[in-house]
Symmetry: C3
Subunit: 429 residues, 3 copies
């Protein structure tokens, strides 16, 4: 029987963390799919389901061909350092030849396990956009936007921080699992998309907001639970190591804090809506409260105590409830409420990080997270993603168009673009 | 590269067991949600979904603030032993300050991993109640009951056994993963709730039982599969350690037995209903048969052979089929069949434990599980939970009322209490 | 504190792989259930859900009583070698007595973890049949076929290869995780069933094909994601070991390749249907494209580079799109498209294996995978499963009948055979 050295054991533990964390996060793709399919009207539910399968696929392809090497320059195994930008080495090393699997990587974990774990993160960013622009965006332009987002926009932002770029080295920007890097990136891209594409037909009449209720609330609840479940992988495996007592203690603390932040988000959203709406709670706000709480803790799920996690998530839940009508006021039509949950709470979660790290105001010698650094990170991410998304959405609008015809919108995208209905027997439509 | 000692490896393995087991059990919350949303009528399906998200949140909050310290007096990390009751040390140690994560806990696993794993158990107990009292209980009284159940009632019972209390030390009561401590606790609370709240309007006319079929059977099937999946974490990680060959062998045996008990439950329910109903099997009985089988093996999933597991689960499946009409006879309206599956099978599973442990009748010097000890455990649990639940439900009834108005019940709780419908386009309601 | 030797650590890691992989694959049962419940008409959706719960149960029972010992002769722990065939030792060792759990098995992993992992594979094969013959097969004959498939037919084929039989030793047949052994076995059995049972009433009029659209596309999307998720366990844990750097590197590579093959299948199906159907993509083809891609990489998920995985999966996606109308041409009514995805792609995936292994043509001294060996494996599997399935389906047809009455088919199997409807409030049926 083979003997395993301590380091091999740690190597296995670390890789397991990425792999198990990765597939758990992969299930978030199903979570987004269910949440969105449940919150659109039935005439668009098959299209929304199809888009979610397609975007997860495109994210994986693009992040492999180009994105990973932009995000982590020099991080890819094997190959020539100088060629590692813009996908060429990925093509070289992985298109026709796999790596040598018999040796331990110096990184301390299986290289492909890291790639896999990073890939499911980019898919998450893409999923956020999908829900906001649902029910009126055309399929192919949406998929092209997804390709650019996952190949370039997201990876560039990630390179600034997790890729050891200037946000990390100059500003001590801190974003443990991606409140800004993943969630606000997706949120900014969604916001720009919602503005450029415009609201659904009939959503706004003057100052009136016409409610367009989701067609399948139990599916939305399922989506919420699947996202919550996936978040344990999202935050927990972002500890990046599990082979020592200190690391696994940290992973455990992250699990507990992640759960408590979602708890805070749910309860805050329940109480806030009960107060605002005279005792009636709003089910979709409760679901988005959970997500808002989860996004809020994602920038720092390790340092807070469990009580602080409840509060951080709770503020996230309140922000969701307040931001939804605010978007409507500006006639920004976010079908599933992704902008409040991912963008607003992503900013909140990022800005509160220094509070559990000594509350430094400026970048300092110790390299501690600080409010200015967080603000810079949030700001440059916002500016870049808004600019890049505007260019891409506008180019798409000017060339192939981003919005389906009014006829298609009224008929529903299921019939118009994919030729089958989500529930052919349940509706007279 | 860091070297890891054997004990660190075991520490990591044990903690992994809790964390992975924990999130798998967390997915049971989604399973209960789908099962219940599928088995209520469509006019209550959004409410039922919302309740399940809310109860999972409340269970987590209350078990952290109070419950864990009641259940495991002295078990909390850090802090002053004398203050560890009723949540104060939890407040102290975890509300504003996290523990020291850099050291191995003497317990042999990451402390927060244990908390997390225990927390998802209490959520399970709360989920059981939710299904039984569906379609007529008011939201807020239900949530308050959930808070008391998870903060006090469940933890007190757990303290008697897993917290090294009198059932463990005096009676050698044995309940590996909670047939009694989790499932019958939830079941008793549900039973009392069903009696105090009363049956749904129109359910019983004299001796006639009016069927109120579930609105979405595929969701109920999904819920069943998710519960089955989650049970591998529920029973498997209750081995509490995985760092040695003996421990992982045991976890593996538990997985196999857990599966076979569910298999027994399914097949027994199928055959029994086919015999009773002239060849037609009853789908919801089959689903509850799986759950009944799983509950039955939960008190002892390790010692039985796989064949014994099939039989133990099979009896559970039969009990489910027999208990459902019995409840109807007493006009106890259990919407999803949770009382047969969790309470009746929980008692059965607990009482059969000694049969695979040498079949001792009385408590003995060896400390083996014995029938009298099991009976005492089942009995005191029942008496305490019935008494406590009666007090809480009655207080709620006398103060805020526990039951929605007849108008609300007819309209459906979706419209009445949360202001949106589960399926606005599928029903004319 | 207990010290753990390196080999114990490896033993734990290996067993964890089987157990976690196993439950992930178990969730594929839920995936098949959702896919099939979503793709049948609503009048058969409760029946389809029930069948999936039942078949998973029967597969587990039969593989334990008989199948495992046929598949792996001599592999069962304990007991007399000479009696290990046809279930007797399983009865002996496991019906009334469990194994000794305190010792490390020489196999290097917990014995029950291997049994569990193998069991969920046989359930997969059975699930494939279920979807194809949906909406007109009678419940009990279907379940009896499932019992024979999982007790005998599948295990015999497995014994030829994974049980170290002639395909392994004489032909160097290579099928890493079961493109042929699992997926084409299920596919052949489904094909024979579809032919013997005949198409649904009204499906074919002369050369016209009457579309019978699925009733719940979001559930089918959920099923696709759950299958995709489960496949990481299916392929990843088929590495069979995870205790060394080389092994975990391989598991990681398998995860990445498995994902990329599904990506290829999705995108190829999207593009192909968009081209064939004038810009409209076909949602169910996209879902089956993912599955086809996954089946295609299952015979060899380790050796290909990620680029090759995309191509192998992509061809699978195209094959799915082309095979569906081909079946219709022959009036073979495959309700969910399981034959294209599992049988056609299973053959494709198996035949392409040598291309990533040195592309040997004939069996050779090095024992490399070779095209002739693969052809023999595919061929004998096909011949045996077709012959055996024909005998079983015909015996069932001649004795109890395999097809429900035309009245039952028109009424729907939900009402006819299980006495409740899947969605009683959504349809006027």
């Amino acid at each position: 029987e083979e003997s395993v050295s301590g380091s091999a054991s740690s190597y296995v533990d670390n890789s397991y963390l990425f792999l198990i964390g990765g597939i758990i996060v992969m299930l978030m793709a199903a979570g987004f799919c269910m949440l969105e399919a449940g919150l659109v009207r039935s005439k668009n539910a098959a299209m929304q389901s199809t888009k979610n399968v397609a975007l997860y696929s495109i994210a994986g392809l693009m992040f492999w061909v180009i994105g990973y090497n932009i995000a982590y320059p020099g991080a890819w195994i094997g190959g020539d350092e100088g060629l590692k930008f813009f996908g060429m080495p990925a093509m070289d090393a992985f298109f026709w030849a796999g790596g040598d699997l018999s040796v331990e990587s110096d990184a301390g974990y299986a290289p492909a396990s890291d790639w896999f774990f990073q890939m499911v993160f980019v898919a998450t960013a893409a999923s956020i956009v999908s829900g906001t622009v649902a029910e009126r965006v055309k399929l192919w332009p949406f998929l092209i936007f997804t390709a650019v987002l996952t190949a370039v926009i997201y990876p560039v932002v990630v390179s600034w921080e997790w890729g050891a770029g200037f946000l990390d080295t100059k500003w001590a920007f801190s974003d443990f699992a991606g409140s800004t890097l993943v969630h606000s990136v997706g949120g900014w891209a969604a916001l720009v998309g919602a503005i450029i594409i415009g609201p659904r037909a009939g959503k706004y009449f003057g100052k009136q907001v016409h409610p367009m209720p989701g067609s399948n609330i139990p599916l939305a609840a399922l989506g919420t639970f699947l996202l919550w479940f996936g978040w344990f992988g999202f935050n927990g495996a972002s500890q990046l190591a599990a082979g020592t007592a200190a690391d696994i203690n940290s992973v455990a603390q992250i699990f507990a804090n992640t759960n408590m932040a979602a708890v805070g988000g749910v309860l805050a959203a329940m109480i806030t809506t009960a107060v605002l709406y005279k005792g009636k709670i709003d089910a979709t706000m409760v679901f988005n409260g959970a997500i808002g709480g989860l996004v809020s803790i994602t920038a720092e799920p390790l340092m807070p105590s469990m009580g602080q996690a409840v509060l951080i998530g709770g503020v996230g839940g309140i922000l969701v409830v307040l931001a939804v009508p605010l978007l409507d006021k500006f006639k920004i039509d976010d079908v599933v409420g992704a902008i409040p949950a991912h963008l607003v709470c992503g900013i909140w979660g990022t800005m509160i990080v220094p509070a559990t790290h000594g509350a430094a105001f400026m970048p300092n010698e110790a390299g501690d997270p600080n409010f200015i650094g967080q603000l810079v990170g949030v700001g440059v991410t916002g500016i870049f993603v808004v600019a890049a998304s505007t260019v891409v959405w506008m180019l798409l609008k000017l060339t192939m168009g981003v919005r389906c015809s009014l006829e298609a919108e009224e008929m529903g995208l299921d019939k118009a673009e994919i030729g089958l209905e989500a529930y052919p027997e349940f509706t007279s439509g």
